[in-house]
Each structure stands twice: as structure tokens, then as C-alpha cells.
Amino acid sequence: MRKARLPGFALAIPAWVWLATFFIAPVAVVFYYSFGYKPGLFGTHATDRLSLDRYVEVLTPTFFETFVATMWIALAGTALCLVIGGPVAYWMAVKAPPSWRGLLLALVLVPFWTNFLVRTIGWQVILAPEGWMSQAAQAIGLPAFDILYTRTAVLLGVVYNYLPLMILPLFVAFDRVGEPLREASRDLGANRLRTFWRVTLPLAQPGIVVGMLLVYIPLMGDYITATVLGGAKGNMVGQMVAAQFQTAQNWALGSAMAVTLVIVIVLSAAVVGGLCWLGTWPLRRANRVVLDAPEEVTA
């Protein structure tokens, strides 16, 4: 007699229920509200009359300008995290003694033990024009250090807060490539650089993509880090959405902005992904292994 078994998807039910309740349902509500309107001075939303008017209101030059500024911060932050986090992850996965890995991973996670707002405000104290970093610079004869409320400070804060999100997937990706494959590559005559470009990097590519998405997507919606350190220079589109929900009490327009933002973030990630795919095309072409030519050997 066959034992009765639960279907395989049963294991995924808790996650689906969770997502449906706490993610899909709220997003659906926001989507629905975005077709509504603000019914009066003291109301936040009404949906008895649905229209696309709120979306027309969203598409203003201010929204566009703020969105572009946000995207620059997000793209630059993602690129910096990749450039800085990539070598660290590679070193942790490949070069560092395996017995250190647990400790190194724990160290990467240490910042998450403190609330990110507290950590970001900590940077504000350090970077203040009369903060200790500035005083230290002046003590050794350098000019006063004044980068708080500049784009430099924004990027510093962004990299600081998001670097672990880049390092962790990259570490996993580099780690999974495994020593045997690198060894085989060297045995077959590839030098270290060639092994990296043709074996490690292509196999780690999914991890790199995940790392970039993990940084880019939350960064597009983050309006705390940038504002705390960048002030006016850290104006993010998330603030405009929050302003509609909170200050203007116009949930319909805020919802339309949120939905627009989701769509544009997905599109921009797709465009950036497409560009990367095109950009790495020569690499893939060069790396292509042709398996259908054994005739030469036998001939």
C-alpha cells in the first residue's frame, strides 16, 4: 500500500499564505486606491469613482526629476557596493583560510545588530563639520572636512548600509564555484586571470545579479539613508510618496505614485539587466565552449 503523501507544494504553503496576506493583499489595496481620489479636505481616499486621473497627476516634471536623482544614487550605490564588496567576497570565499569563514561572515553581519537609522545618524555625528573626523583632519594640517550634506556623504552612507547585502550573495556564489573547478582550470593550462574570467566569474554570475538587485531595489525605495546624510542633496522619490500619504493625506495620489514607482523600478532593473547582458556578450562569446567538434581529434 502506498503511503499517503502531501503534494510537494505543501511545504511552500506557509510562505505563500504569508506573502498573500502581508504582501500581495496590501499591494492590491494600494493598486485599487490608486484609481480613486481624495474626497475632500479631511478625507484620505475614496474609490466610488475610479479613474486614471491620479496617474496623470503623478507624471509631473518634479516626479521625473526626483526619480532620476534617486536612480543615480541607486545606480552609483549599487556599482560602488559591487566594486568594493566583490573583492571582499572573493577573498572570503576563495583566499581566506576556511576556518576563518564563520568569523568573517559574522563580522559582515555585525552592522545588522544595530538599527540602521542609529548607524546612519552615527555617521552624521562623525561627518559633522566640527565632528571628530574634521577635527582630526585639521589637527594634522589638512583642511576642515566638510562632506556632510553632499552627494559624497550620501554614497558613503549607502555603501555602508548596503554593503553586506552585496557581500553575502557574492560570497555564496564564489564559494559554490568550488576549488575543484578552479584546480581543473589550472590543470588544463589556464592562468589565474583566465581562470577567474572564464570559470569563476561566469559561474558566479547569478550571485552577482542577485547581489545587485538586493542593493538596487531597496535603495530605490530608501529615503532615510540618503536624507540623513545628504540633506537636500539626498532627496529621494520615496519621500514624495510618503509626503502624499502623510502630509497631503492624499492616499489615492500616493498609491498611484507607489504603483508607478514599482513599475518604473522593474522596468529600470530590466533595462539595466538587458544592458549588462549585451555588455557581457563578447565575454560569453569568447567563453563559449564548442562541444560538437570531436571529429578533429578522431581524424
Binding site: 481624495k38 479636505l41 479631511f42 484620505t44 518634479t62 526629476e65 526626483t66 536623482a69 545618524i121 552624521q124 555625528v125 559633522a128 563639520p129 566640527e130 565632528g131 556632510l148 550634506y149 536624507t227 545628504g230 540633506g231 537636500a232 542633496k233 539626498g234 532627496n235 519621500q239 514624495m240 509626503a243 502624499q244 500619504f245 502623510q246 502630509t247 497631503a248 493625506q249 492624499n250
Partner: protein, 392 residues
């Protein structure tokens, strides 16, 4: 025997309230035990949440839930209430009126909060949405200790729903080591922002505070809904002020003033005062009350329409208005609480920088009440535009 439910006892006058409360609490408990199940079932059948029962000065409930601004009451006042009258206090805080209102509206009468502390301009909205409890003023005799100047404001002319909790005003603070001339008015503020303080100026992160600078400087009604005036404000602020703004900061007293991050900062008086007191070099800062006009905002004690503990809520309002606590409250929050003779008491207690808390009648006359009106959406739009322009 007269048909009369009164109980006659022999007791000192001072102990009467306590005895009355204890007696009625026992009565209440007996009643509750008998009807508890019924009440529970009844509660289940009204998903909208029943409105609070009328407060009649009966027994205090054993709990009180306060939903207020962060760090807004001296701990000894809250502890004193529990120690003296019994109800345990649960404190929850919000960062904006909108957040509080959104929570009350979304909870549809099940928020569980008794006391809320809305800013005056939001009170008409709360009343219109049926979110406020009509106060039983007989239970709050200590309202007599509130200065009449801070009662009967435009948002609640007869104080049917609210009583002044604290009020403040808007001005600015500048660094005398960088701006060596004397600044006195909003026009001076704008001029300094464009010159000595360019790129080192912060304004409050609030639409009506930013547009306010222009209206107050130019003698225009702060609550204007005239499109021509709003357009002019937008044009000026966007072209003349925005390029010089370094940050939008509603609480520069927390970090920006002590750390000397900017040289010119728009600020609320109590926050600026804290910032200057925390500064390692307080003498470099000069506080200026905005002129020729500025605002007067007021946060107000109010009770939620669905308050589960209305008796305790009324008792708390009466307790907190007792002159005994006036100094503790003003010392803790740094804002005028509206209590009578508070200025004399504060001077006697030796509190610092009192010219940033108390104002002359002439200054008070220049302070305008705000209101939420049809200009709200435009103000938010201008605010977003200024932010985009300042960040460019």
C-alpha cells in the same frame, strides 16, 4: 425610607473621593463579574467598535492608554498618576498628526487609545470624522489653571473636545561667528540664506513652514488660498531660496545646532532652546522669533471617541493640569504648557533661556494660528518642488 441610592458614611472630606471610588469600584466589579460574558458577546457583534461610554465621574478603570508625541511628558507626572489614582499607563508615540489620525481611522474605533494629543489645526478633521470624545468638563475642574489666552482657539472655540497641552512658535537660529550682522526678521533670514549662509541653511521639513517664511516676511496671510499669492510664493521660494538650502530638518536642536552643522536654521522655539543648551558653545547661537509675523501651533489634550477608559482619561487630564506638575512638564519638554502664572514659576525655578519659551504680549499678537485648507495639496507640491530644486 426615602427612595434614594445614596450611601451615607462618616469620613473626612479629604478621603471622600477615595472612599467613593473604592465603593463604586467594588460595585463595578460585582456588576462586571455578572455581566462579563454578555458584554464580551455584545462586543463581538459590533465590529465597528462601540463608542466609549459616557464618563460620569464613576470608578476609574485600572488602565489608561496614551497615544502622544515621543517624549512629551515628564516621567514623574505619569508615575505620579498611577501612584496616586491607580490606573496603569500604557504609552505609545507617533511622529506626526497624520500618522495618529490614520491609525485611529483605520482601527475604526478599536485602537484602544484613550488620550491623544493632536495639534490644533487637525482638530476640525478629528471632530468631523467623529474621532473625538466630547469632554465632560465637570470632571476636569483643573482647567481653571489654564491661562484663558490658550483656551478657546479657533479649532475648538469652547474647548468641548480639547485643552491646551503645549504650544510653540517658529523662528530661526544663526551662528554669530559666521553671520556677524544682526538678523531680526524673516526677510533678514532670506537675505542671509542667499549670502553668508548659502548652502549652509536648513529649513523645517514641513510644507507650511517653508511657504510660511515667504508669507510671514511679506505680510501675506499664512492661511491664504489665493492662487496668485501661492504662485508668487512658489516662484520666489523655488528660484531664490531653494538653491541655498542644505537640509530639511524639523528638529535641528537634536543634532544640527549642537554639532554646528549649519549656520542658519529655521526652528521651533523649544527645539532650538534644547539645541542651544546642548551646544558646547551656546554663546555662538542667536535665537530670533520670526517677525513681522509667525505661527502659534498648539498641541492639545483630547480623548478618543472610542476610549476604553473614559473615566481614567478624564482623571488624567484633570491630574496633569494640576499646577503641581506645571514646572515638571515645562522643564521636561521646553514648551509653554499654557498654565497660568507659569512664567513666574519657571523664573523662580531658575530654568534657562526663558525668552525662548515665554513671549511678550506684543510678540504673541504677531503669532497666527494655522489651518488645513484648500491650499494643502499646492503646499505639498511646492514642498516637493523645492526639495527637487535644492537637491539638483
Amino acid at each position: 425610607m426615602p427612595a434614594n441610592d445614596d450611601v451615607r458614611i462618616l469620613a473626612s472630606r479629604a478621603s471622600t473621593p477615595l472612599v467613593r471610588r473604592e465603593l463604586s469600584r467594588r460595585g463595578f466589579l460585582a456588576f462586571a463579574a455578572g455581566t462579563g460574558t454578555t458584554m464580551f458577546l455584545a462586543a463581538c457583534t459590533t465590529p465597528g467598535g462601540a463608542p466609549a461610554p459616557a464618563a460620569t465621574g464613576g470608578a476609574l478603570e485600572n488602565a489608561l492608554s496614551i497615544y502622544t508625541w515621543g517624549d512629551y511628558d515628564a516621567p514623574e507626572v505619569l508615575e505620579g498618576f498611577t501612584a496616586d489614582l491607580g490606573p496603569r499607563i500604557t504609552l505609545d508615540s507617533y511622529g506626526s498628526n497624520e500618522e495618529m489620525i490614520a491609525k485611529l481611522v483605520a482601527a475604526k474605533g478599536t485602537s484602544g487609545y484613550d488620550i491623544i494629543v493632536p495639534t490644533g489645526v487637525f482638530i476640525p478633521q478629528l471632530i468631523e470624522n467623529g474621532l473625538l470624545y466630547k469632554l465632560n468638563r465637570d470632571l476636569i475642574p483643573n482647567i481653571e489653571h489654564v491661562d484663558e489666552a490658550y483656551l478657546g482657539r479657533v479649532w475648538d472655540p469652547d474647548n468641548e473636545y480639547s485643552i491646551c497641552k503645549a504650544w510653540g512658535t517658529t523662528g530661526f537660529v544663526y551662528d554669530k561667528t559666521v553671520i556677524t550682522r544682526e538678523l531680526k526678521t524673516w526677510s533678514d533670514f532670506l537675505d542671509a540664506a542667499k549670502n553668508e549662509a548659502s548652502g549652509r541653511t536648513a529649513v523645517l521639513d514641513d510644507p507650511v513652514e517653508i511657504t510660511g517664511i515667504y508669507y510671514w516676511a511679506n505680510g501675506i496671510d499664512w492661511d491664504t488660498t489665493d492662487p496668485a499669492e501661492i504662485d508668487a510664493a512658489e516662484k520666489y521660494l523655488l528660484e531664490e531660496l531653494a538653491p541655498h538650502i542644505a537640509a530639511f530638518d524639523s528638529y535641528p536642536g537634536g543634532a544640527a545646532i549642537p554639532q554646528a552643522t549649519h549656520v542658519l536654521m529655521q526652528a521651533w522655539n523649544g527645539d532650538a532652546r534644547i539645541g542651544i543648551m546642548e551646544s558646547p558653545d551656546p554663546d555662538r547661537w542667536q535665537w530670533v522669533l520670526g517677525s513681522p509675523a509667525t505661527e502659534l501651533w498648539m498641541d492639545n489634550w483630547a480623548i478618543s471617541a472610542s476610549a476604553p477608559h473614559p473615566e481614567a482619561a478624564h482623571a488624567f487630564l484633570n491630574y496633569v493640569l494640576d499646577p503641581e506638575w506645571a514646572i515638571a512638564q515645562i522643564d521636561y519638554i521646553g514648551y509653554h504648557t499654557g498654565a497660568k502664572n507659569i512664567e513666574a514659576m519657571a523664573r523662580e525655578a531658575g530654568l534657562e533661556l526663558l525668552d525662548m519659551v515665554f513671549f511678550t504680549p506684543e510678540q504673541l499678537a504677531t503669532m497666527q494660528d494655522g489651518e488645513i485648507n484648500e491650499a494643502q495639496a499646492r503646499n505639498v507640491e511646492i514642498w516637493n518642488k523645492i526639495k527637487a530644486a535644492a537637491g539638483a
